[in-house]
Amino acid sequence: MITPVLLAVLALVLTGPAPAVLARSSWPYRVPRAAVILWQAIALAAVLAALGAGIALSYSIAGRPGEPRFDPSSPRDLVAALILAMTALVVVRLLWAVGRVAVGTRARRKRHRDLVDVLATPDGLIPGLRVLAEETPLAYCLPALRGARVVVSVGALDRLDDSELKAVLAHEQAHLRARHDLVLEEFTALHHAFPRWVRSDVALEQARTLVELLADDDARRRNGPRPLARALVALAGSPAPEAALAAAKSATVLRVERLAGPAPNERTLSTLTYAGAVTLLVLPTITIAAPIVKAIVDAVS
């Protein structure tokens, strides 16, 4: 009975306090690549622990451990089956969310791409670049398996000099090359998979910031920190209408301040972060697998 309790506690810690603490820390910004992996590990470990808790609870309630036969006349077996069914429901809900987000995102992106293709003019500067005749400063990428596009508005071009534009394009191409959209999609799906009252958007928000930092690091390696920082300031020039936005330091401020500092080189910290991610994944997996393996061994011998 100890395994399901431990797994449930682990799942709760990984969905609530752990993300909250991590989101308030600033060290993940020093190792964005490792931090993205850590967030993915936390999310996956939380799901595994929650499912593991269900499976382990059902297993420990069922009539006689190691007895493979299901006995419908035994109330214990019925409760065990019910718990197992609820666990399966969580899996279904998760898969449904992943599918819905994937389909929805692709449909919306396809419509956006169709619009970009008829409204924006191609520019030979980089392959896939489209220039949109809009005054609002705007730069973003449209990821795709093939034929990804980078969209820049005329308003953005007006505000950027050549080196700044190069930095922006390098940033966007880094997103496309690394398929950061898929990383964000995972967190979006996870976000949608849980009912509104348990989910929080810290993981999604953090993932969003971290992939920006990753693309920034890539652009910085190519052109140095200065053009990118200047481009960020030039394009962020339009203050938000809502004052509420000022509550937390936005990712843009974080990014520019980070570019103003020395280039990140954090071997030890990133190694530790990766190690933490692996540990998180191994922990629930072993606790789930151990009793099952033991039961199989017991049944065979």
């Binding site: 987000v101 809009e134 973003y140 962020a236 103003a260």
Partner: protein, 130 residues
């Protein structure tokens, strides 16, 4: 999923040119009319224009109606309307739509704009002294 990306690039460029013809025209145009207008500036097969108009109809960017034996095509919406749709999608970071696009920068408050300028001037100072 991959099929949407398979279109060879020249067709994509033609789509834009064809849409521009349709937006500029006061009435719906037949394939022949679109072809005649475009053929003046580039070598273009009639069937290619037909394909492009058909693709645009599938993307719900054009609408067609019967006119005798021919189809007449017109833009499904004015250019400004589609541009507004696109901008809304590109700028909307609220609610469930915000994963659609990842923009280079978001909006900042006045206070943050000051922080940004300060950080930038620090960076510029470093460049000059270092």
């Amino acid at each position: 999923m991959a099929s949407e990306d398979k279109a060879p690039r020249p067709l994509g460029d033609l789509e834009r040119l064809v849409m521009e013809q349709l937006w500029a025209a006061p009435t719906a145009l037949t394939v022949r009319e679109v072809h005649e207008q475009l053929a003046g500036t580039r070598e273009l097969a009639y069937t290619t224009v037909m394909t492009v108009l058909d693709r645009l109809a599938k993307k719900k960017l054009t609408e067609r109606e019967r006119d005798g034996k021919a189809w007449r095509y017109r833009a499904a919406a004015p250019r400004e309307e589609l541009a507004a749709d696109l901008m809304r999608d590109a700028l909307d970071r609220a609610g469930d739509r915000r994963e659609a696009l990842v923009r280079f920068v978001g909006q900042v408050s006045d206070e943050e704009a000051a922080l940004l300028r300060e950080a930038l001037s620090r960076l510029d100072g470093q460049e000059q002294t270092g």
